[in-house]
Each structure stands twice: as structure tokens, then as C-alpha cells.
Amino acid sequence: MKPQSSCVRIQKEWDIVGARHVARDMAKELGFGIVDQARIATAVSELARNIYLYAKSGQIIFEKIDTMESKGLSIIAIDSGPGIADIGQVMQDGYSTSGGLGAGLPGVKRLMDEFVIQSEMGKGTKITTKKLVR
């Protein structure tokens, strides 16, 4: 039986590819179509790159959701980096053009079905996302 959850540490750029790989594999197993597979991989890419570039280290935790009501993938990115000062600003469209910390997050929100971000300055950031099989 395939594992129900998985955790990928992000420390070097190569780990981003590893995280994408795990994400795509799990998405495939859960029965996501190729469009959603690609979207999930891109979202994970974005989350992992944020950790790699700004927090230096962190992890991404994948968990399969497979209950009576819903089936899907939960992805949590946690780091102990600098944190995001103004979440509202980062989540604004157009901010993304700046290319700085968190610039890709509005995109992640669009690629996934659920998106919750918590961040504390100097402590780190936790982003919880979910995508369900339709």
C-alpha cells in the first residue's frame, strides 16, 4: 500500500523538484486529472521555492484526504523563516509583480481549493492548502 502521507524537507533548490514529484505522484494516485496534477505541482513548486529562497529551510507535508465525503490532497508548508509582515498586501493581485517573499501566493490560492496562511514576524509561516478531486 502506498503511504497516506509524506514529508519533504526543503533546503536546496533540488528539493523543490523532489516536492513537485511527490505531489504529482500522490495526485495521480488519488485520481486527479492531468490539469489538476499540473496545478498541484505548480502550487507546491511555489510553496517550496518560497521556503528555499526566503526561509532557507522548512518542510512540506502531504496528506491524502480519503473520507466518505471527500477525496483530495492536503498540502502544508511550514518554515521558521522571517515571516510575512503584511499578509493582506502579499495576497493582493499585482503585488506578485514585485517578485519578493510570498509573491507567488495569490497564484497558489487560485491553483488550490482551500488556502489558509498564518505568519508571525521572526517566527515563520505556515500555509495550509487543500485540493479536492472533483
Binding site: I16, V17, G18, R20, H21, R24, A38, A41, T42, S45, G88, G94, T97
Partner: protein, 337 residues
């Protein structure tokens, strides 16, 4: 753009080749990065398809006619998407221009509305006003008369944003032109009502409380033009009561008379004035009850008036998850013990 494409096509072709041969995730990561840089360089989706066709033809010179035709068809389907993408660019530029206008206007408003909280013996005053967005449609203002009387205005323009900011600057200048210390609160509201009624169209109005505190007799006299009721805290009985008042909002009718109310402040007593941005705080989708407005005020009542208003603001900010839907203004007067 042509150049960007030409120099990129080799990179694209290499990644594509590696992906076709190994289906590795690394190539897909590569194309994601590449695609973002295309987007940044305003390469349109039909150009991506074109690049894909060229790469395929170079990799597989024997590619079937069917596939080639099919790709031309796909390219055609992308043209409308390319137009849409260009629209985004021009929309963003417009957005940016207007945002910088609003920022300038907000800075002006800050200069305009600067009001110093007066120092007076026996009374401790705190005030905070935070707009929902950049421009503030709430207004507060203090003035200290020659006889040490403190005049205080708190107002809320119906609506938010630019129109509210415009109306608000009207109130500011009208008030500025009165010899306030010599006028009673109800007379000030009656005069303002005429100005507003004359200058603003009928479905635009302003609610306001004007109050005067006299340190000689410790009495607070105030009148209200349809404004959110304030609260009186009786220290001896440790009890809050709502300050019920009558009076039409400014600008509704031409000739309105306002009533003057009076209360005496004893040591430890407080008076709280606010706008509906405070009371219309939403906690998980439901409006809070009057009682709940007082919760944080009770909680922080032993702090200084300024610390109180700031803590209360933060309390509500957290309660509604940092989503302000209306301008928020809170003023607290504390009679010192």
C-alpha cells in the same frame, strides 16, 4: 519580443526533448520557470504554442501532418487568450495610476485632519480613527476654547472612500470657520446642517455628535445629529449606560433644531463616543451586541484613555480577523480620580 522567443526556443526544445525521453519532474520544473519568465516578458499564449510547434518539428522532422495541423488549430484557439492577457496589462496600469492618486489624497487627508488632543487638568482624553481603506469617511476634531472648554466633534459620512472623503473635508472647513468656543453644541450642529443640506445631494448625509466639556463645572454638554449613541460610565455604580439622544442626521432637512444634553462627570467617570464602524464589528459573520462593545472597554478601563482606545481597536481588529469593513473611530474621555 521576437528576440526573447528566439533565444528561448532552444531552451524550450532542450527541456521538451528531455521530458519526452524521461518524463522527469525536473523538466517540468524547468518549463514552469520558463513559462513565468515568458509571462513577465509579455509573451502571449499563441506564441508559446508556436514555439512548441517549432520545437516539435525540429525534434521530429518526420512529424505527421495531422499533428502539425492540429497544432495550428490549437494556436488559433489561443488568439483570444492572448488578447485577454494584454488587457490585464493595461488594466493594471490604470489601477496603478488611480492607486497613486488615492495615496496622495490619503496623505492630504492626514494633514487636513490632524487634530491635537487637548491637555486639560482633570480630564484624560484618548482618540483613534482608522479608515477601512485608505481614505477616511469618519472625522474627529478637538478644539480648546479660551475658557478651557474642550470642544469635540465626531462624525461619520454615509459611505466610504472618495465621496465620503470629499464630504468630510466640507465638514472640516465649515467647522474651522466657526468661533466654536462661543457656540453651543446644538447651534454648531444647526449651522453645519445648513451647510451640508445646501451643498450635498439629499441621499448623502452625515451623522455627528458635538460635545463640549467644561472643567469649571465638570459638565459635558452635547448634541447629536443621528449619530451612533455613546456610552456613559458611572464609576460609583460601576455601570455603563447608553447615551440616548434625538436628532436628525446632517443634510436630511433644511431647518433642523437639535437638543442639548448634559451630564456631570464625577471622578472615575467615562464618556465613550464612537462611530458605527466600532459597533458593526462582525465576529464570524454576525454583528456583535451592544454589550460586547463594552467588553474590551471594561477590560482596559484602568489604562490611560489613549491606551484604552488603542487596545480596544486592536481587540476588535483581531475579533474580525483584520478585515475592516467600515471606518473605525473611538474617543474616550476619563474624568481623573
Amino acid at each position: 519580443m521576437g528576440e526573447v522567443i528566439n533565444s528561448s526556443i532552444e531552451g524550450y526544445k532542450d527541456l521538451l526533448k528531455s521530458f519526452i525521453e524521461t518524463q522527469d519532474e525536473r523538466s517540468l520544473y524547468g518549463v514552469e520557470m520558463m513559462s513565468k519568465s515568458f509571462l513577465k516578458n509579455n509573451i502571449l499564449p499563441e506564441e508559446i504554442v508556436d514555439m512548441h510547434i517549432q520545437a516539435l518539428e525540429e525534434l521530429y522532422p518526420e512529424l505527421s501532418q495531422e499533428v502539425k495541423h492540429s497544432m495550428n488549430f490549437l494556436l488559433e484557439a489561443m488568439i483570444s487568450y492572448g488578447i485577454k492577457q494584454q488587457e490585464i496589462q493595461s488594466l493594471k496600469e490604470k489601477q496603478f495610476a488611480i492607486q497613486s492618486e488615492i495615496s496622495v489624497a490619503a496623505k492630504m487627508q492626514n494633514t487636513l485632519l490632524k487634530t491635537e488632543i487637548p491637555q486639560a487638568k482633570g480630564i484624560d482624553i484618548g482618540a483613534i480613527s482608522v479608515p477601512a481603506h485608505q481614505l477616511n469617511g469618519d472625522y474627529y476634531h478637538f478644539v480648546k476654547g479660551k475658557d478651557d472648554t474642550i470642544g469635540l466633534a465626531i462624525a461619520d459620512v454615509i459611505g466610504k472612500g472618495i465621496p465620503a472623503a470629499l464630504s468630510m473635508s466640507m465638514i472640516k472647513y465649515a467647522i474651522d470657520s466657526y468661533p466654536e468656543e462661543s457656540m453651543k453644541p446644538n447651534v454648531i450642529l444647526e449651522n453645519l446642517n445648513r451647510v451640508v443640506e445646501r451643498n450635498v445631494d439629499p441621499n448623502m448625509f452625515i451623522t455627528m455628535i458635538y460635545a463640549q466639556y467644561s472643567p469649571r463645572d465638570n459638565k459635558l454638554r452635547f448634541s447629536s445629529a443621528g449619530h451612533e449613541p455613546g456610552f456613559y460610565y458611572n464609576a460609583k455604580e460601576n455601570k455603563f449606560t447608553e447615551l440616548k439622544t434625538k436628532g436628525l442626521a446632517l443634510g436630511v432637512l433644511g431647518n433642523v433644531q437639535y437638543q442639548e444634553y448634559m451630564l456631570e462627570m464625577k471622578p472615575g467617570d467615562m464618556v465613550i463616543f464612537l462611530t458605527d464602524g466600532v459597533t458593526e464589528t462582525k465576529d464570524q459573520g454576525r454583528f456583535i451586541e451592544t454589550q460586547e462593545v463594552l467588553d474590551p472597554i471594561k477590560k482596559y478601563k484602568d489604562l490611560s484613555a489613549q491606551e484604552m482606545v488603542e487596545h480596544v481597536f486592536k481587540y476588535f481588529e483581531q475579533l474580525q480577523d483584520f478585515k475592516r469593513r467600515d471606518d473605525f473611530t473611538l474617543i474616550i474621555l476619563k474624568k481623573e480620580v
